[in-house]
């Protein structure tokens, strides 16, 4: 094809990508936060029930937190995972009874399937019994994690 047409098609394609970028930016790889208890209340036949309590052994950890547990599922190639892990550790260190368990699911496909992981990191907040109360698909905002710890275990900094 001739040059003007080539330029026009290329320009249109770039414009399309700009729109896509703007749209995707509006929900900035929006970390999806799900209240799992609320989802369970809505449970109708065929919809998933409240997730079963998680035990430490499943995750390969010695124990869970006495007040709450922050679980992070990471993969080997995950640029946002180290930062999220640091964040969770900082938040946990400021509170009693909150443990952090980080699991590299690269070697744990069973966990990736059980929890239907779609992105990394994925962060769960477990209560004292090990029941998942909320789930973040993507890096969580610090305030959101703190709010959930407050609600789940009444632990403030």
């Amino acid at each position: 094809m001739d040059a003007p047409l080539a330029l026009s098609i290329a320009a249109a394609f770039v414009a399309l990508l700009v729109v896509v970028a703007l749209v995707l930016r509006r929900r900035p790889a929006r970390t999806r936060e799900r209240d799992l208890a609320a989802a369970a209340d809505d449970a109708t036949p065929g919809r998933p029930e409240a997730p079963r309590a998680v035990d430490a052994e499943l995750l390969g950890a010695d124990r869970l937190g006495t007040s709450a547990t922050l679980v992070q599922f990471s993969t080997a190639y995950c640029s946002r995972c180290p930062g999220t892990a640091r964040l969770l550790r900082r938040i946990a260190s400021e509170r009693d009874g909150v443990d952090v368990v980080e699991v590299d699911v690269t070697a744990r496909g069973d966990l990736a399937n059980r929890f239907r992981l779609t992105t990394s990191p994925t962060v769960l907040v477990l209560d004292a019994d090990g029941s998942p109360r909320t789930r973040f698909d993507g890096p969580p905002a610090p305030i959101a994690v703190e709010r959930w710890l407050e609600a789940v275990a009444g632990v403030g900094a």
Binding site: A10, V14, G60, R80, P82, A92, L117, T119
Partner: protein, 178 residues
């Protein structure tokens, strides 16, 4: 007492030193610019040439296919991807960022694992490489399609930091249970 329990297998024994995350984004901008040039050339070149409803690329000798300006530009782009895989620090955009751009910026708030951006370079090399091979084999339209795909990934990475390689990796983990 709060504590930290590290699950078995989560310790990354040899985590490489972190890099300024703005470096790969800078490289992605430059790559995007080169790919736009390649896209225009590919659309205007032998890959899309059609005469009387038939693409003419298959009728050209391999030397002519390889001589298409878009092919040559894409070859350079592929070489740059390969360079960043083989020797990330000496790669031109990486060196340019360190010498000319980074000193003008505030130190990075956080460092990132260099492995995901490297994986993205590999994905780029595979996509661009496929376009080059198909074009050389005489497949019409392969060049602009490959360039468009590579551009989309590079541009989204540069502009909004979307890392398709990371997502691909998680998907692969789930599809290959161990």
């Amino acid at each position: 007492m709060s504590g930290v329990a590290s699950a078995a297998g989560s310790a990354r024994a040899s985590t490489p030193a972190g890099i300024d995350p703005r470096g790969p984004r800078f490289a992605a901008w430059i790559t995007s610019g080169l790919l736009v040039v390649a896209l225009v050339l590919a659309l205007a070149g032998t890959s899309t040439a059609v005469v009387a409803g038939s693409p003419t690329l298959p009728t050209l000798p391999a030397a002519e296919r390889a001589g298409d300006p878009a092919f040559l530009v894409l070859l350079v782009i592929a070489a740059l991807f390969a360079w960043s895989l083989v020797s990330p620090r000496t790669q031109p955009w990486s060196a340019l960022f360190r010498r000319a751009v980074a000193p003008r910026l505030a130190p990075p708030a956080e460092l990132e694992d260099p492995r995901p951006p490297r994986f993205a370079q590999l994905v780029g090399l595979v996509v661009v490489g496929a376009g080059l091979v198909l074009h050389l084999a005489g497949v019409p339209f392969a060049l602009p399609i490959a360039v468009a795909a590579a551009f989309a990934a590079a541009f989204l990475n540069a502009s909004i930091g979307l890392c398709l390689g990371c997502k691909l990796y998680v998907l692969l983990v789930r599809l290959a249970p161990r």
